[in-house]
């Protein structure tokens, strides 16, 4: 990242605007590569172009010259993508990528018409190579992030080569929109059924980060279990083995909630917790038939599986209720457990929530069935 207030590098401070324009062209063409900033060993060629376009210290004449050179270069790209590939220069792809990198990093407003025009032409072009098309789409993303642009990105979700850009753009436009989880699950399905290479796990993590919680994704995946159970299992399996921690946590929460569902229905009994569970279940079935609407439950387990399942059927959580689920009065037993509120997470009273947190139940292990 180049500091906004870094002064104009000494090496080019005395240049004329024309010479600046030539430098920009040389950089984008790949014919100039000396380090302008720090004489360090690996300055990316387009760094100086980015600096000239965005730095507060760039003289106006320099910035204008740089923008004009970038525009001229972009017009050359427009010509290049309409030519048959055999007529395109060997280093054309590298040149387009450098130009796209500049727009990706700076998004200069005066290049918006060219970038969006190029995008439309590129999407229709039959001659264009995959890397060039990829670079042009990437260059245009920051110029097309209004709600009115959503339709364009939704269309790209149908293309294997560009679907991840489409999804990320939609995520930036409105991360809470219901279409986000729907689109995410569609990408998971394309990965599963059409063997698309789309990085659905990372997109899932980005969605959780952008939405600020995993609740929407979790709900979408839980609903998927009922309508496409094979896909649901496949996704969960991949999430559980992911290197990304929040994905493993998401899968563990879903598995725990699912296990609780089965436990409440009497279809899932762990060997360790069988005796306690049967007793609790009898208790709940005879005295509290409405457990599914009223009760709380505690599942003791971790990402490797469920250890114990306990249900507090009183409908209210209290220290009394807690004694039902505490084992040997040892608060540490709650570590790695999940608390499930059948009526919804929001109806867990803050004091109960805090009680669990205080006793070592991890906050993100609270789950909603």
């Amino acid at each position: 990242m180049i500091a906004q207030n870094e002064s104009i590098p000494r090496l080019i401070a005395d240049f004329s605007p024309d010479r600046i324009g030539q430098l920009v062209t040389d950089r984008l063409a790949g014919s100039s590569r000396v380090p302008i900033f720090h004489a360090s060993r690996e300055e990316v060629p387009e760094d100086i172009v980015v600096f000239l376009l965005q730095s507060e210290t760039t003289p106006t004449g320099f910035r204008e010259a740089a923008a004009r050179a970038c525009t001229r270069f972009g017009i050359g790209v427009m010509t290049g993508i309409t030519l048959p590939q055999e007529e395109v220069k060997r280093d054309f792809t590298d040149q387009v990528e450098r130009w796209a990198n500049v727009l990706d990093r700076v998004a200069p407003t005066e290049l918006k018409p060219l970038a969006t025009g190029l995008l439309q032409t590129a999407l229709k072009s039959e001659n264009i190579s995959s890397p060039v098309l990829d670079a042009i789409v990437r260059a245009a993303i920051r110029f097309r992030l209004e709600e009115s642009d959503a339709e364009l990105w939704i269309q790209l979700l149908q293309r294997e080569d560009l679907c991840a850009y489409g999804f990320n753009a939609l995520l930036k436009i409105d991360p809470q929109n219901p279409r986000i989880v729907r689109s995410l699950l569609e990408l998971w399905e394309s990965r599963e059924s059409k063997d698309w290479k789309v990085n659905a796990p990372l997109l899932t993590a980005k969605t959780i980060r952008a939405q600020g919680s995993n609740s929407k994704v979790k709900r979408g995946l839980q609903q998927l279990e009922e309508i496409k159970s094979k896909l649901h299992r496949s996704i969960l399996s991949e999430l559980l083995s992911s290197k990304i921690e929040i994905l493993r946590a998401l899968a563990a929460e879903i598995e725990m909630a699912s296990a609780l569902h089965r436990a409440v229905q009497g279809s899932y009994i762990t060997s360790d917790g069988e005796e306690q569970f049967q007793e609790t279940r009898r208790h709940s079935m005879t005295k509290h038939a409405g457990i599914r609407q009223l009760g709380y439950a505690v599942i003791l387990g971790d990402q490797t599986g469920i250890r114990h399942t306990f249900i507090n059927p009183t409908g209210r959580f209290s220290s009394e209720g807690l004694s039902d689920v505490r084992i040997n009065n040892n608060p540490s037993i709650f570590q790695g457990s999940a608390v499930v509120d059948f009526e919804g997470f929001d109806s867990i009273e803050r004091s109960h929530y805090n009680y669990f947190a205080h006793n070592g139940v991890r906050k993100n292990s609270l789950c909603h069935v």
């Binding site: 380090p35 990316v44 990706d104 990093r105 920051r142 991840a164 290479k197 997109l203 993590a205």
Partner: protein, 258 residues
């Protein structure tokens, strides 16, 4: 190397800028470059014509060693012995992870990640981006310069992992140092020599014309170079070697908090 009279215009222009002048001094001080390479280098500079300014002069030198499709003057120093540099490490700016991962990983068919995304994200997001990269495909290590400068992993280097500023300073990486300070994180790129398809070489000035802080090692028999610490950093640099830019299998990418 002795600068021939036919390159006097080039040398004069290099002297007009302090960084370029330092490169020129490095060129003059390295006596370990093979005569044939030296001759080719100066012939290419002469062929580029009189430079208009220091940037053009410096570009001429850089283009002479990294001529498109050639790069034949790179890595002309001796090969690093087999028992050195078994574990290799590079430190890069956080957002430069964009350039290291394989195109397929970041593209619209993969993660759809842009440079802007990586330059503006928080640690967790960047960490997930690099953690999700399985390294089996391989990244283009050394892009865009045609060369990769690597350090030999060592306990001393490892001890600095949580002190990114000192680490970047000891490795002589001013840009990385600034980024570490600004963002409080950096990316560590590690791989094993056994997975490297290119030979490791002792750097010489022909490899370092884009890198004025480099000082030629006067010992032509030395089996490694040495990074130079930036001003303000404590301690010495680390052993250093180079290889040609290439794809390396099983890269370990980690996002580190500084």
């Amino acid at each position: 190397m002795n600068i021939p009279a036919t390159c006097n215009d080039w040398a004069d222009m290099m002297r007009s800028d302090p960084d370029a002048a330092q490169v020129l001094d490095n060129v003059k001080s390295d006596s370990c470059v093979a005569a044939a390479h030296e001759q080719t280098f100066f012939q290419r500079i002469e062929a580029s014509g009189p430079p208009a300014d220091a940037v053009k002069a410096w570009d001429a030198a850089k283009n002479a060693v990294s001529a498109a499709g050639g790069n034949d003057l790179y890595c002309s120093g001796k090969e690093v012995p087999d028992d050195r540099f078994l574990s290799l490490v590079r430190v890069i700016k956080a957002e430069d992870a964009f350039y290291v991962v394989d195109d397929a990983y970041r593209s619209g068919a993969g993660a759809g990640t842009t440079f802007h995304d990586l330059a503006n994200c928080l640690f967790d997001t960047l960490n997930e981006f690099v953690a999700g990269y399985d390294g089996l495909i391989g990244g283009n290590i050394g892009k865009p310069d045609g060369l990769a400068w690597v350090t030999e992993d060592s306990p001393a280097l490892d001890a600095l992992r949580s002190n990114g500023s000192e680490l970047a300073g000891r490795l002589g990486l001013p840009e990385q140092l600034q980024s570490v300070v600004d963002r409080g994180m950096y990316v560590r790129v590690a791989f094993q020599r056994e997975h490297l398809p290119e030979q490791l070489h002792v750097p010489r000035v022909l490899d370092a014309v884009g890198h004025s802080p480099f000082r030629a090692n006067p010992d032509c028999a030395a089996d490694h170079g040495l990074t130079y610490s930036l001003p303000g950093t404590a301690g010495t640099g680390f052993p250093e070697a180079i290889h040609r830019s290439c794809k390396v299998a099983r890269i370990e990418l980690t996002c580190e908090k500084a």
